[in-house]
C-alpha cells in the first residue's frame, strides 16, 4: 500500500527496538542524584571556606581527589569499568572533607580517601553494595589511627584569610555553659569543616528534602531523639550536661542527620524503617555524648545503625496490597 502513496513514510520495522515495558523512564539518574547532593553541600562548603580559608579549600580538594583516584585505581586494578563520573566518589570526597579539620595534614586526607573508597566501598563490590557509610568508615578509621590529629580543631577566623594554628576544642568538649547558640548557628565555633555552620547545613538539608533525595523521617527522628534525651539529661543535671540546643547545633549532628545517616545505600528503604533507624542513631549518639569516652558519637551511632539496616528493612516490610484482608471461610 505504501507504494501507491509514496509521500507517506512508514517506520522501518528492522530498526525498531523491542524491549520489555515500561517504555518510559523518569528523569532522575544516579548521576543526577549524586550531583544534587553535591549542590546541597555547597552552602556548607562555602561557609567552611569563609571560616577556615585556604586550609579548607585544600582539605576538600585533597579529599575529593583522593577519593576519585582511589576509586579509579581500584577499578583499574580489578578491571572494572570507570565509575567516577557517576559522582558518588566526588560526593564521598566532599563529605569526607567536611568530616576533617581544616588543618588536617595532606597525607591524612589522602589516606582517608583511600580508606573510604577501598575499605568502605569497593571491597564490598562498589556503589550500592557497601553495608557501611564509606565516609564514616574512613572517619572512624582515622579517628582510631590518629586520635590527636582528628580531635584538634582550628578555631575559625572570620574572614577569607584564616590564621592557621589557632586551635580550639569542640564545644562539646568544653564545660557546659561556655558556648553561644548564635556563634554555633553561624559556625563561629571549633570543629571540623562540616560541623561548624548550622545554618549552611540546614539550607543543604532543605535542598535535599525539597528534591526528595532523603526521607524526612531520618533527620527528624535522629535530631528529635537527641533533643529529647539530652534535654531530659540537661533538666536533671544542668551542671554536668549541655543544653539540648548545644547538642543539636554542634558536633556532627546536623551533618550526620542530613547528609550521612540519610545515605541511600546504607539506610532503610521503608518509611517505618527510617523512623527506627533515625531513633537508633539519636539514641546511640546521646548515650555516647552524655556518658561515653568520646565527646562525639554521631559517626559510631550511624555506623552501628548501618549494620542493623538489613534487619530493619526485613522487619518493616509492609504487607502487600490486599494481604491484610483474607477472605472469610478460606483455609
Amino acid at each position: 500500500m505504501s507504494e501507491e502513496t509514496p509521500s507517506i513514510r512508514l517506520p522501518d520495522p528492522t530498526r525498531l527496538v523491542v524491549s520489555n515495558s515500561p517504555h518510559m523512564r523518569d528523569k532522575p539518574t544516579i548521576k543526577r542524584i549524586m550531583f544534587t547532593v553535591v549542590a546541597a553541600m555547597a552552602p556548607a562548603c562555602v561557609a567552611a571556606v569563609l571560616f577556615f580559608g585556604v586550609a579548607a579549600v585544600q582539605t576538600l580538594l585533597l579529599c575529593v581527589l583522593s577519593c576519585v583516584f582511589a576509586e579509579e585505581g581500584w577499578n583499574k586494578l580489578v578491571k572494572r569499568s570507570s565509575t567516577w563520573k557517576d559522582g558518588s566518589a566526588i560526593l564521598s570526597g566532599i563529605l569526607l572533607g567536611m568530616n576533617l579539620n581544616a588543618g588536617t595534614p595532606w597525607w591524612v586526607c589522602l589516606l582517608g580517601g583511600a580508606l573510604a573508597m577501598i575499605l568502605g566501598k569497593q571491597l564490598y563490590g562498589g556503589l550500592g553494595y557497601n553495608p557501611f557509610n564509606p565516609v564514616l568508615v574512613a572517619r572512624v578509621g582515622l579517628l582510631i589511627g590518629f586520635p590527636g590529629i582528628m580531635t584538634t580543631w582550628d578555631k575559625p577566623a572570620m574572614g577569607v584569610m584564616a590564621v592557621d594554628g589557632v586551635t580550639a576544642a569542640t564545644p562539646l568538649g568544653l564545660a557546659p555553659g561556655e558556648t553561644f547558640v548564635k556563634d554555633m548557628l553561624l559556625g563561629n565555633v571549633g570543629g571540623c569543616l562540616g560541623e561548624t555552620s548550622a545554618i549552611a547545613l540546614l539550607i543543604g538539608g532543605a535542598i535535599l528534602l525539597w528534591f526528595k533525595l532523603i526521607k524526612w523521617e531520618v533527620p527528624l527522628a535522629f535530631i528529635g531523639t537527641v533533643f529529647v534525651i539530652t534535654g531530659v539529661a540537661h533538666l536533671v543535671n544542668p551542671e554536668a550536661f549541655h543544653s539540648p540546643f548545644v547538642h543539636i547545633l554542634t558536633g556532627g549532628l546536623l551533618l550526620g542527620a542530613f547528609f550521612m545517616a540519610t545515605d541511600m545505600v546504607t539506610s532503610p528503604m521503608t518509611r517505618k524503617g527510617c523512623w527506627i533507624f533515625g531513633f537508633g542513631c539519636g539514641l546511640i549518639t546521646s548515650l555516647i555524648r552524655l556518658w561515653g569516652a568520646y565527646p562525639e558519637g554521631v559517626s559510631f551511632a550511624i555506623l552501628f545503625m548501618n549494620a542493623l539496616t538489613p534487619l530493619i528493612d526485613r522487619g518493616t516490610t509492609s504487607k502487600p496490597f490486599g494481604f491484610a484482608t483474607p477472605v472469610k471461610g478460606e483455609a
Binding site: M1, S7, P11, S21, D26, M269, P320, G322
Partner: protein
C-alpha cells in the same frame, strides 16, 4: 459508597502526552481491501473456526464460535470472501493463525442476532447470552471475555459494578474520546451491565484529567441512573485492584479476583460494545484506537475494524516524520513493543504508539543504590528492589516469599528507578519461573 475517592498508596506521574490526540474526534477508518482477523483475541480457549477458504461472508457473519465457556466467538469485519486461513505476527511477536478476508467493497450487513429494543424487560440471562454471542471482551487491554465476569459463580454476590474509564496510560485517548462522544452509550452500557448483574446502578470511574468527558458522562448518567466518579490522576489508577480500592475502599486479596470482594469491573469500550450488541444487534467487530506518538504527522483516534493492519493505521495518521525507536501496541507503561507492521488491530488494541528516538535511550542497568523510590511508588506495597536482587541471584523462592506474585506489572518501579534496573522484567521472569515450578510439582 463514599463521595470522595480514596487515593491508593504509591503510583507515579509520568508525562501523559495525551494532548497529541485528545482533541481529535473519532474518525471511522475507510473500508480496506482486505482484513487479517487474528483468531485468538481473548484470554482463555481459542475459538473454533466455522468458515473455510473460499466461503463468502458478510459483515457480522460468524467466523469462529466460542471454544468453551472462557472463549468468545469471532465475526467478520466486512463482506467478502475468506481468502485464506493464514498466519500473521501476533502482538507478542509469535506468528498466530488469522482469517484473511478479501473485501468485496459492498460491506453488506448480515445480522447474527436481532436487536433487543426493550432491554429493560428482557431476562438478564438473555442479555448475558447476547454479550457472549457478540464476542465482547475486556477492551482495555486484557481481552478477558466479558460474559465470564458477568457470571459470578455460586456463592459470590456482586454488589458493585465499576466501569473503568480511568485511562491512566500516558498517550492513550481512545477511551477519553469514546466517553466524550458516546457518553450516552457508555452510561447506557453501564445500566445494561447492571441489569445483567441484578444491580440497580453502576459507577463509571474517570481520571480527573478528562474534565470534558466527566461532564458529558454526568449528564448522561442521570438519564440512565448510574453515577460518575472522578478519580485522582495517578498511574496506575486504571489497574483493576487500584480502581476498586479508589471507589469502594475494598482491597482485592492477593491472587483473588474482583468478584471476591463483590465487584465487577468492565472497560468503558466494552460497555459501548455491549450496547451495540444489545440495542443495535452488532457484534464486536470494531473499536476505537489511538494512533499517536511524536514521530507521527497527524496523531488521532480512529474507529478500526478488527483485522486492520498497523501499517494502515500509521498511514491514516499521516505516516512518520522520523524513524521511531519503538512501535508499541498499548500505552508506554504496559504496551508491547512490536517488530513488524503486519500486526493487526484486535479487540483489545487500545493504542498504536510510536516512541521517538530521543524518548528512549538504551540504558545500562546500574547497581541498586537502595534509594527506595520503587518501594515508594509500588501500588502493591511490595519491595521491588529486594525482589529484583533475589531474581538476579536466581533465588525465585525468595522472590516468592517477598510476594512477587502480587506484582501487577504496572512498571511504576522500572519507570522510577534512577539506576534503570529492569525491575518489571525481573518480576515477569520470576512469575514465569515460579509458575513453572508449581506445574512441575503438580
Amino acid at each position: 459508597m463514599s463521595d470522595k475517592p480514596r487515593k491508593f498508596k504509591g503510583g507515579v506521574h509520568p508525562n501523559d502526552s495525551k494532548a497529541l490526540s485528545a482533541h481529535k474526534a473519532i474518525e471511522a477508518a475507510p473500508l480496506l481491501e482486505s482484513y487479517k482477523v487474528i483468531m485468538h483475541q481473548n484470554i482463555g480457549a481459542p475459538p473454533e473456526l466455522v468458515v473455510k477458504k473460499g466461503d463468502a461472508v458478510k459483515k457480522g457473519s460468524l467466523l469462529a464460535k466460542a471454544g468453551g465457556f472462557v472463549s468468545v466467538p469471532l465475526h467478520s469485519p466486512t463482506s467478502g470472501v475468506v481468502k485464506a486461513i493464514d498466519k500473521v505476527p501476533g502482538p507478542t511477536g509469535i506468528s498466530v493463525p488469522c482469517i484473511e478476508i478479501t473485501a468485496d467493497g459492498e460491506d453488506e450487513w448480515e445480522s447474527p442476532f436481532e436487536p433487543i429494543a426493550d432491554w429493560k424487560n428482557t431476562d438478564p440471562a438473555e442479555l448475558k447470552q447476547r454479550v457472549w454471542d457478540a464476542g465482547v471482551v475486556g477492551m482495555g487491554g486484557a481481552g478477558f471475555p466479558a460474559h465470564v465476569k458477568l457470571s459470578p459463580p455460586e456463592g459470590k454476590t456482586i454488589d458493585t459494578l465499576i466501569l473503568n474509564g480511568a485511562e491512566c496510560e500516558p498517550y492513550l485517548t481512545a477511551d477519553h474520546r469514546l466517553m466524550l462522544e458516546r457518553a450516552d452509550d457508555v452510561a447506557l452500557g453501564c445500566a445494561i451491565i447492571a441489569r445483567i448483574l441484578g444491580l440497580e446502578t453502576g459507577v463509571i470511574g474517570v481520571e480527573n484529567n478528562k474534565p470534558d468527558a466527566i461532564a458529558a458522562l454526568r449528564d448522561a448518567a442521570v438519564k440512565h441512573g448510574v453515577t460518575v466518579q472522578a478519580l485522582p490522576v495517578n498511574y496506575p489508577q486504571g489497574a483493576e485492584k487500584q480502581l476498586i480500592y479508589a471507589i469502594t475502599g475494598r482491597e482485592v486479596p492477593v491472587g483473588k479476583l474482583p468478584m471476591d470482594v463483590g465487584c465487577v469491573v468492565q472497560n468503558v469500550a466494552s460497555a459501548t460494545a455491549i450496547v451495540d450488541a444489545v440495542v443495535k444487534g452488532v457484534p464486536s467487530i470494531e473499536r476505537v484506537t489511538t494512533v499517536t506518538g511524536k514521530p507521527l504527522v497527524d496523531p488521532g483516534n480512529w474507529l478500526f475494524r478488527i483485522g486492520t493492519p498497523i501499517s494502515t493505521a500509521l498511514e491514516l495518521a499521516g505516516g512518520i516524520t522520523e524513524q521511531p525507536a519503538k512501535l508499541l501496541l498499548g500505552g508506554p507503561m504496559m504496551g508491547i513493543a512490536q517488530s513488524s507492521l503486519n500486526v493487526t488491530v484486535m479487540k483489545n488494541t487500545s493504542g498504536v504508539l510510536l516512541i521517538a528516538q530521543d524518548e528512549v535511550s538504551q540504558y545500562t542497568s546500574e547497581p541498586c543504590i537502595r534509594c527506595g523510590r520503587c518501594v515508594e511508588c509500588c501500588p502493591m506495597s511490595i519491595l521491588p528492589a529486594t525482589i529484583s536482587q533475589a531474581v538476579e541471584n536466581k533465588r525465585f523462592d525468595w522472590a516468592e516469599k517477598l510476594n512477587v506474585m502480587a506484582c501487577i506489572e504496572c512498571g511504576s518501579c522500572s519507570y522510577s528507578c534512577p539506576s534503570h534496573r529492569p525491575l518489571n522484567q525481573h518480576f515477569k521472569r520470576a512469575k514465569v519461573e515460579i509458575q513453572a515450578g508449581l506445574r512441575k510439582k503438580g
